[in-house]
């Protein structure tokens, strides 16, 4: 049986790309980047800069990013603005064709980079209309596809989108996490010097659990004065303790915290039991909350952008933050001994917790920025300061 929705959108002449939603609707456009198809959840990001950081953020694993800003690719790509070398977004949707880059830092074109990294791009789409749809109906599962000859088996793509189980219940962290331990020496970026380096001397030792981390987190930890060792997501409690951490960092990452929590939460609980200082970001924050007894839930449209206001409850100060999450800690489920430290001023959702009387805290947003505002760098200093 022909899908009724797709029959409403016949392929326009020259279409070389398509987004096929699980409900059968079809959005045609011009493909770029890699050839082929990929399945994921369609989300949107409202940042006007930093597409390269977004597209390399492992938290976007299993997702197709709709950029709300129409011109993407303006400043090309470079080796510095990569946030990870593991799986991240499977593709992106933009309104305008990517044009030749113009920036002194550029080392290549965005489209070519996507192609080389197996990511699919779709241009020529009314991304605002798509965003509004996600706002109204939630983030749909879909297949993004690109073929220069424009030949697509739409019914098959619909089936593929339908068959995809979705992010809920999905443990993507173990896929994007490092598989081996790594001593991290890179520090943060400055205009003239690029990334700094810091030898691994005797300083507070932070073991960072990589659930799909953005590199800028580690750089900020180093900048704040820590010696950083990054370990894979499934590293056991014993293995972590053997590294003699002064503190443990729980990274961001993709997927459902409940799923990843299956193995991560017991580890975190073990660390808590031993009073090892903890700092969690995004997925790490969610799993810290679960370990402390709270619950998480999938959000309707998620928060993704670089303009999100978060209020620090201790003094009322507003931090403008970078966000990227589709799940959130349910603030109402925080047990005694867990204090809500930050809330979203957009919708009141939880954005930070601290365990009363203990050196353990987490934030839902991305204080490491990259892309986005750097208002919250202080959290890294706060954490490393706790370890001295």
């Amino acid at each position: 049986m022909a899908d009724p929705a797709s029959s409403h959108a016949p392929k326009p002449e020259g279409a070389t790309g398509v987004l096929v939603l699980a409900d059968g609707q079809v959005i045609w456009g011009r493909g770029f980047g890699a050839i082929g198809d990929a399945v994921g959840e369609v989300c949107f990001n409202t940042s006007m800069t930093g597409y390269q950081e977004v597209i390399t953020d492992p938290s976007y694993a299993g997702q197709i990013v709709t950029f709300t800003f129409p011109h993407i690719g303006n400043v090309g790509i470079n080796e510095e603005d990569i946030e990870s070398r593991v799986d991240s977004a499977v593709g992106c949707i933009v309104r305008e064709d990517v044009t030749q880059a113009s920036n002194f830092r550029s080392r290549g074109e965005f489209g070519n980079w996507l192609r080389d990294h197996g990511k699919i791009g779709l241009a020529g789409v009314d991304t605002r209309a798509l965003t509004r749809r996600i706002r109204k109906s939630g983030a749909p599962n879909a297949v993004i596809a690109h073929h220069p000859d424009g030949a697509f088996d739409v019914p098959a793509l619909v089936q593929k989108a339908k068959a995809w189980p979705g992010l809920e219940g999905m443990d993507l962290a173990k896929i994007v996490s490092r598989q081996i331990e790594e001593g991290w020496e890179g520090s943060t970026w400055t205009l003239e010097k690029g990334y700094g380096r810091s030898p691994r001397d005797e300083r507070p030792h932070v073991v960072a659990i990589d659930y799909g981390a953005k590199d800028n987190i580690f750089r900020n930890l180093v900048k704040a004065g820590a010696r950083v060792t990054v370990v894979p997501a499934e590293t056991s409690l014993e293995k972590i303790l053997e590294l003699k951490p002064d503190g443990v960092f729980l990274s961001n990452g993709p997927g459902d915290p409940a799923a990843t929590g299956q193995y991560a939460v017991p580890t975190i609980k073990g660390l808590l039991d031993r009073d090892i200082p903890l700092f969690g970001i995004c997925l790490g924050h969610q799993m810290l909350a679960i370990a402390a007894g709270a619950k998480t839930a999938k959000m309707f449209q998620g928060h993704r952008g670089a303009n999100h206001p978060v209020q620090r409850k201790s003094d009322g100060v507003v931090e403008i933050t970078s966000m990227n999450h589709g799940f959130a800690v349910d603030g109402k489920t925080l047990p005694e001994g867990v204090e809500e430290t930050h809330v979203s001023l957009f919708d009141g959702t939880n954005c930070g917790i601290a365990l009363t009387g203990r050196k353990a805290f987490g934030v839902q947003y991305h204080p490491e920025a990259s892309p986005g505002p750097q208002d919250s760098f202080y959290l890294f200093e706060k954490f490393v300061g706790m370890l001295r």
Binding site: Q52, P70, A306
Partner: protein, 1109 residues
């Protein structure tokens, strides 16, 4: 944090008259601020000398002082009103400087007034170059390397730090005369030497050249809890070297990586913290080296600005409103983002479109001014356009400018030019350089070629190249005849008019035949259309509509669709269908609606006065129960504030763009009509197209407006009404012009037909001057005739503004000009009521105005200009639409003239309103303000061509005091003692005698040139003779430079005398010596001086004047 309760009344200082660099954006910000403060229950006191503002409407502030913005006068307001606080950040540099003076002279302390928004130290730290540089050093931000030199040796020392090229600016010279850019040591030596010579203090500032660097502006808002947010990042398309107000700019920044952007963001916040702007909006400007990313702080403004108005319109975030709330103690998280109604103001707007601003210039008004841009701002207005991509955005902006462009029009002077010529043209920063870049592509230049010369970022150039290539494709292939093809072109921003032109060219008929046939009908035209697809704007539209290619409307929501927007603030774009059809967010209502067309970019002759009228139409028709829909493209205005109308479309005012909006608005509800009479010439030009499309026009019929502008039809009406006009005629060739002038007799007033602001209008004394004029100033042809009038020398000119509902007529004001007939009415000072005319003459003008209004079947506003000579009333012209004087009249008499007019236009009768009281017991004087100081070398003399950018009002109990205030408001500080220089033409000598007598009585010393000296001495006055410039030194200009002259009366006759006295006026301007170039104004000035010496200037609020009237 809650609002402050320790203060209950707040003084707001406005920006005064519209001048270059300070335009109606400060009415927008001031109005927002006053509304916001009143919402919070504070008593608001306002001082602003500009009557053409919404902020000075009597129902805005609690006490409104239309008084000069000088520390002395504002101190009087403070003494009288005893405000608790002063908000100095809403009125531009004028308000900031005045507030700083009031702080420094102790007034604020004396009366216990607290500065809110920005304190004196923060203002000083931001404004003082040295302190600012030190502040930037202390937070590790680089400033341009520079140093001051007084000798050549010092200069070479500075050069060691700046390097070459270096910019040399002599200190204390007007418009940077004598400075320049040195690229080698020999040039450096030359320019420094010249600069030291040119500087009265023998001082030059030498700066590292940042020419060609990228320029950015960050709009920042901070609250007392140290929450800082960026509202908008603006990128200049024009690189460093062109004032940001004169630059084409885009938002958001398009060519920065996130890392660079965040450096700039963090730096901006640090600058605010370091300067100490505790609350409110500021902007910080940066220069970025495109090769290395090196970042230099240029300057910061600790107040709202032109760019914050732009940022507000570009994002939907009302910076001034929020800044006002922050100033009284709120924090950002306590303020709601009204666009969404659901989220707080403590966020950073993110947009999903591209905004382009293009400034508009008026060089053609100033003979002798070089149309080149530099670091001193020269533009008089700007257009903003919004599109879903840069191409659409920039092309919409170009057609919204109303300079005859429908996109990237060809630059004919460069067609087929040599590479050298093109390169030379690109090297000059002219207002049309972007068009020249497009032309250069057509002439074979590459992106790299153009980038190397202009330093436009390659990203922008590539998009312009795409547009040019697409145009060439249309020229070779013709228009596409399918929906996808047309939509693709429309999404690139091509206007229908542009597509029509390109389509016609695609037919390749020789010798301009295509262009000619496009305008005609018949077989040839039909053939052409068949070949081209379409040959005119309307045919392209028909083709487009046939294929179902319509624009959709998207909302400006501050959040890129992340949240629902409850405010209908919209722009058009062309989208590909997503789920079946292109998504349109216009959602027209089913209400009864009125569309008000705004005035587009400000220009000389069409400015804030017309926006004032449009805003009043919105307010009045909303009161009357209509849904009001505003269309405009000027980001500086109150009319484009999202809460002025019920629905706002930020769109170019072209037939195409307006008709598409009306199409959508007519889908639901009832369109009662469109108001085209309030926005000046811009909407009037659209009236015919709207009528042709069957759109109802409210008020006076466009035909009546046309009748009034059409000399021959109008003459017939004048004859029918038995009114008297100066002898006149129309000429379509040089020979006809000579014949008409001979019939009328010289002098004659000559001008092209159909213009606003008296462009290219001149008084001509002889046939040889007439020949000159026709040869140089205008094109005279069958399509563009010139109008020739008898020039009534020394007549008194009057303006009458009246309301008519088709039957009944009420005159709202009769104004008497101070300058004699022949000076453009917009440039002339005037009084309300008249101050020296007989009652009989005034009554006769009222009678004639009534007859004209009925004769033209006016429904709404009408303005009539008369000339009075020897008790005889001559009709000069009638404009059955809103005039420039409407806000002045409304402010003077305290009646909502424009509001009543709007409701009459929508069908109500004058009898429905309380009777309009015209008689007032005080005197109001309007004075024009001129931009001569921005155009070095231009003769600052008045003529029939309008040159003023703005106006002030002086109001007091009698004419001399009101005139004195008007002068003070306009920046002319009349002296109360000293030496006056008098040099007047023969016909003025008798007339000026009483003025000189008055000065002598007031203790002034008088010096005069030969003829005038003899005349005055013969009349028994003690007058010393002084040399004219041509008579040897020391001459009058030497004395002026030496500070010996305090006042100048100088009138001229004939070209030679005008030329001879140019240096006097130019020097008066640079030395800031009050000067008057007409005998009538000279007399008024002497009366004002006498009155000022006799009494202290007093201040009184409008509300007080009205209540005792």
């Amino acid at each position: 944090m809650p609002k402050r309760t320790d203060i209950s009344s707040i003084l707001v200082i406005g920006a005064g008259p519209i001048i270059i660099g300070q335009a109606c954006e400060f009415d927008y910000s001031g109005t927002q601020a006053i509304k916001a403060l009143k919402e919070e229950g504070y008593r608001v006191i306002l001082v602003n000398s500009n009557p053409a503002t919404i902020m000075t409407d009597p129902d805005m502030a609690d006490a409104t002082y239309i008084e000069p913005i000088t520390p002395e006068v504002v101190a009087k307001v403070i003494e009288k009103e005893r405000p608790d606080a002063l908000l100095p950040t809403m009125g531009g540099q004028t308000a900031l400087n005045c507030a700083l003076d009031l702080f420094e002279n102790g007034t604020l302390e004396k009366f216990g007034v607290t500065m809110i928004g920005a304190n004196a130290d923060a203002i000083d730290k931001a404004e003082n170059r040295q302190r600012f540089r030190e502040a930037m050093d202390s937070i590790g931000l680089e400033s341009a390397r520079s140093g001051v030199a007084h000798t050549m040796d010092e200069a070479y020392k500075v050069l060691e730090t700046t390097g070459l090229p270096a910019i040399i600016r002599p200190s204390f010279t007007l418009g940077g005369t004598g400075g320049g850019v040195a690229y080698n040591r020999s040039e450096f030596e030359q320019i420094v030497r010249d600069g030291l010579d040119a500087s009265p203090r023998t001082e030059v500032l030498i700066e590292e050249s940042l020419l060609g660097w990228k320029e950015y502006e960050m709009e920042v808002v901070r609250d007392r809890n140290d929450n800082c947010i960026i509202i908008c990042a603006i990128e200049n398309v024009d690189p460093m070297g062109v004032h940001t107000g004169d630059s084409i700019t885009v938002a958001p920044a398009l060519t920065l990586t996130d890392k660079e952007y965040q450096i700039m963001r963090t730096a901006s916040l640090e600058v605010l913290r370091e300067i100490g702007v505790e609350t409110g909006g500021s902007n910080v400007q940066f220069a970025v080296d495109p090769k290395t990313g090196r970042l230099i702080v240029i300057e910061m403004n600790p107040r709202v600005s032109r760019s914050s108005a732009l940022a507000s319109k570009a994002t939907g975030f009302p910076i001034a409103r929020v800044a006002a709330k922050l100033a009284v103690g709120y924090t950002l998280d306590e303020i709601t983002n009204e666009i969404t109604g659901a989220t707080p103001a403590s966020f950073e707007p993110t947009i999903d479109y591209v905004v382009t601003k293009i400034p508009r210039f008026a060089f053609e008004k100033f003979k002798g001014a070089k149309a080149e841009l530099s670091t001193a701002m020269k533009s008089v207005g700007e257009v903003m356009a919004i599109g879903r991509n840069f191409k659409e955005s920039v092309q919409k902006a170009l057609r919204g400018l109303e300079t005859g462009l429908d996109g990237f029009n060809r630059v004919e002077e460069l067609e087929g030019a040599s590479r050298e010529e093109i390169a030379a043209a690109l090297a000059r920063a002219t207002p049309d350089r972007l068009l020249k870049a497009a032309q250069a592509f057509r002439e074979g230049f590459t992106v790299e070629d153009i980038h190397a010369i202009t330093h436009y970022d390659r990203w922008f150039l590539r998009h312009i190249e795409d547009i040019v290539l697409e145009e060439q494709n249309i020229i070779s292939e013709g228009l596409p005849n399918d929906a996808a093809g047309l939509r693709r072109l429309k999404a690139m921003g091509f206007s229908d008019a542009r597509l029509a032109k390109l389509a016609v060219r695609s037919v390749h008929v020789a010798g301009g035949l295509g262009e000619t046939q496009a305008l005609r009908s018949g077989l040839l035209h039909d053939t052409l259309r068949a070949m081209a697809g379409a040959t005119s704007e309307s045919e392209v539209r028909a083709l487009r509509w046939k294929h179902g290619v319509f624009p959709v409307f998207k909302r400006i929501d501050s959040c890129a669709a992340e949240f629902e927007a409850i405010t209908p603030y919209m722009y058009s774009t062309y989208e590909t269908p997503l789920f079946g059809e292109a998504e349109d967010e216009a959602m027209p209502s089913d209400r009864k609606k009125v569309v008000i067309l705004g005035g587009g970019p400000n220009r000389i002759g069409q400015g804030i006065e017309f926006d004032y009228c449009c805003v009043h139409a919105c307010f009045a028709l909303a009161d009357a129960g209509y849904e009001t829909i505003m269309i405009n493209c000027n980001p500086e205005t109150v009319s484009t504030d999202y809460d002025t109308s019920d629905r706002l479309y930020f769109e170019p005012l072209t037939g195409e763009d307006v008709l598409e909006i009306l199409r959508v608005e007519q889908e639901k509800g009832e369109l009662a009509g469109v108001i085209v009479q309030f926005g000046g010439q811009t909407p009037l030009k659209l009236a015919a197209a709207l009528e042709y499309a069957g759109i109802p026009i409210l008020g006076t019929s466009p035909d009546a407006i046309d009748l009034a502008e059409d000399r021959e039809r109008f003459a017939a009406l004048v004859e029918k009404l038995k009114l008297k006009q100066p002898a006149n005629g129309i000429a379509r060739s040089r020979d006809e012009a000579v014949a008409v002038a001979n019939r009328i007799g010289y002098p004659v007033l000559i001008r092209p037909s159909y213009v606003l602001g008296g462009r290219a209008m001149e008084i001509v004394d002889s046939q040889s001057q007439l020949d000159d004029y026709i040869a140089s100033a205008v094109t005279v042809s069958g399509d563009s005739p010139v109008l020739i009038d008898q020039y009534l020398r020394d007549a008194i000119e009057c303006d009458v503004d009246a309301l008519c509902d088709g039957d009944e007529v009420v005159v709202a004001g009769v104004m008497q000009h101070i300058e004699e007939a022949g000076i453009h009415s917009g440039d002339s000072a005037c009084t309300l009521p008249t101050h020296s005319l007989s009652e009989a003459v005034v009554d006769e003008m009222i009678r004639q105005a009534g007859a004209l209004a009925r004769g033209l079947k006016v429904r709404g506003l009408m303005n009539v200009q008369f000339a009075v000579k020897d008790e005889e009333v001559y009709l000069i012209e009638v404009n059955p639409r809103a005039s420039r004087t409407v806000p002045f009249v409304a402010k003077a008499i305290g009646q909502p003239v424009a509001k009543i007019a709007s409701r009459i236009m929508a069908g109500e009768k004058l009898a429905d309103f309380p009777p309009l009281v015209r008689d007032i017991s005080y005197m109001a004087v309007k004075e024009a303000v001129f931009p001569f100081s921005k155009f070095p070398g231009v003769d600052p003399v008045l003529s029939p061509e309008m040159k003023s950018t703005g106006e002030v009002m002086g109001i007091d109990k009698n004419f001399p005091l009101a005139f004195a205030k008007a002068q003070l408001g306009a920046g002319m500080h009349l002296p109360e003692e000293g030496t006056a220089f008098v040099s007047v033409k023969n016909s003025d000598k008798e007339y000026i005698l009483p003025a000189v007598k008055e000065l002598v009585e007031q203790g002034f010393r008088i010096v005069a040139t030969g003829g005038t000296q003899k005349y005055l001495a013969d009349a028994g006055l003690p007058v010393e003779r002084v040399n004219k410039v041509a008579e040897g030194r020391p001459h009058i200009v030497d004395k002026m430079i030496d500070g010996e002259i305090a006042l100048i009366f100088n009138t001229t006759e004939g070209w030679q005398s005008l030329k001879d006295s140019h240096s006097i006026r130019a020097t008066a301007l640079t030395e800031k010596i009050p000067y008057f170039t007409t005998a009538a104004a000279s007399r008024a000035a002497s009366e004002a001086i006498a009155a000022m010496r006799g009494s202290q200037l007093e201040v009184r609020s409008l509300q007080d004047y009205y209540s005792t009237n």
